[in-house]
Amino acid sequence: MKPAPIVSIVGLEKYFGAFQVLHHVSLDVRPGEVVCIIGASGSGKTTLLRCVNQLVEQDAGAIWVDGELNGFSIHNGRLHRLPEAAIARQRLATGMVFQRFNLFPHMTALENIIEGPVQVQRRERRAVEQEARDLLARVGLADKAGHYPAQLSGGQQQRVAIARALCMKPKVMLFDEPTSALDPELVGEVLAVMKELAASGMTMIVVTHELGFAREVAGRVVFMDQGRIIEEGSAEQVLGQPREARTQAFLSAVLG
């Protein structure tokens, strides 16, 4: 028997105004799995990740993370919206890495990393600082602890962002096109950190255009188009022998 999924998305629907961005999306991710989501611009990949992390509220369907229902409590067969503080607590199960890094510009790399553990999780500052330094070393930035984001290259900023998410000890890591804002020579260093993370057994959902990375690391690849999951399967199958015409069209456009 396969292990129970750690993320379970069931019949997710999302509208922005009258425009439906997600159409009945369902997806299970098991512990230790790496799932890559690919698809054209505007197909809803970012919105899907943001629903999992509760940065947007879905309009229908349910998302379970580590056995807990996202955003609601269940009483007498009805769903009651959780207060803000409870949602903030639930978010700790997932770590998010954004396309545009979103480091806090007024804090050094080290301060960025320890902010969450110290201010939110109220962990002991000294211990967290040691952990943060270890994480910085792990992403190859041991000597940049005191640098402000503006003093780091894009690739370095993104690696700090990954360390920041990891220091919260999340169960699942979400990546939204983590390399697409980077210069080509900087992409490699970030992908290397992500590969190492996947190898260490972290559960990861990765929205990416880096098909080489998907091919190498992903246990499963999901192709989305216009708010729907069109095709899902192993990396070799989806990227090598896509079944659907739309997947083929997308791949040939990206591969040029």
Binding site: A88, R91, M96, R100, N102, P105, H106, E115, Q119
Partner: protein
Amino acid sequence: MTGPLPDISGYSIAPQRHWGRWIAVAVILLLLAALARAFAVGMIEWQFVGTFLTAPVILTGLLNTIVMTFAAMGVGIVLGVITAIMRMSPNPVLRGVAMGYVWLFRGTPVILQLLLWFNLALIFPRLGISGWWTVRTVEVMTPVVAALLGLGINQGAYTSEVVRAGLLAVDTGQYEAAKAIGMTRLLALRRIVLPQAMRVIIPPLGNEFIGMVKLTSLASVIQFTEILHSAQNIYYANSRVIELLIVAAIWYLAIVSLLTPLQMLLERRFARGTAGGR
């Protein structure tokens, strides 16, 4: 196409002359000199300016002006931040209260606000919980207290708009990053968004601060003896109106000249981590 290009590697660059600039400087200096002369020979008696510049009453007024400026701006900033945060709350009641406050206090003359606080006893003769502990309103509402309330609460309404603009200027990605590490809205505002908003807030707040230095003079209607009030008391006695206003202006200029570098210091402090700052 032209022929082969000349080799100019040995040529030196002629220094720039900027004739226009020098002429402009000369004209401006001449104008200033003419103005200075007109003031010097005009019906202004400068010995009065010199005599009263350091008169004890003027210096007392100066001190009161400075203290009240900082105190009222302190009240204004606290209220402004709270109001700005309320305006951006998802709770419509809080939003409504904040909007009403800004509307009412930006919309009424400060002089009325000052007089209403000072004369609160017309409406509430005694303050406190009746039958338990009360105090005569006029004893609480001294000129200093009324001036602080009147100026501070009025300033809060203006400051809240400044703070709101600052909060809106922070990239939404920062709110999301803060949420993603589990912060609640208020914690994110305090730790992440406000410190970054300060960069945008400080320059207009500097304007407001300088405005407050001079706004304190309105408090003279409720007997708060700031510097303009002191100057007026003197010219009521000796009729040297322009001369004493110049005394006040010299001190105002001095305060403003000191505040400006302070503002720059703060700007540098909050530019930490951006291209300009360290």
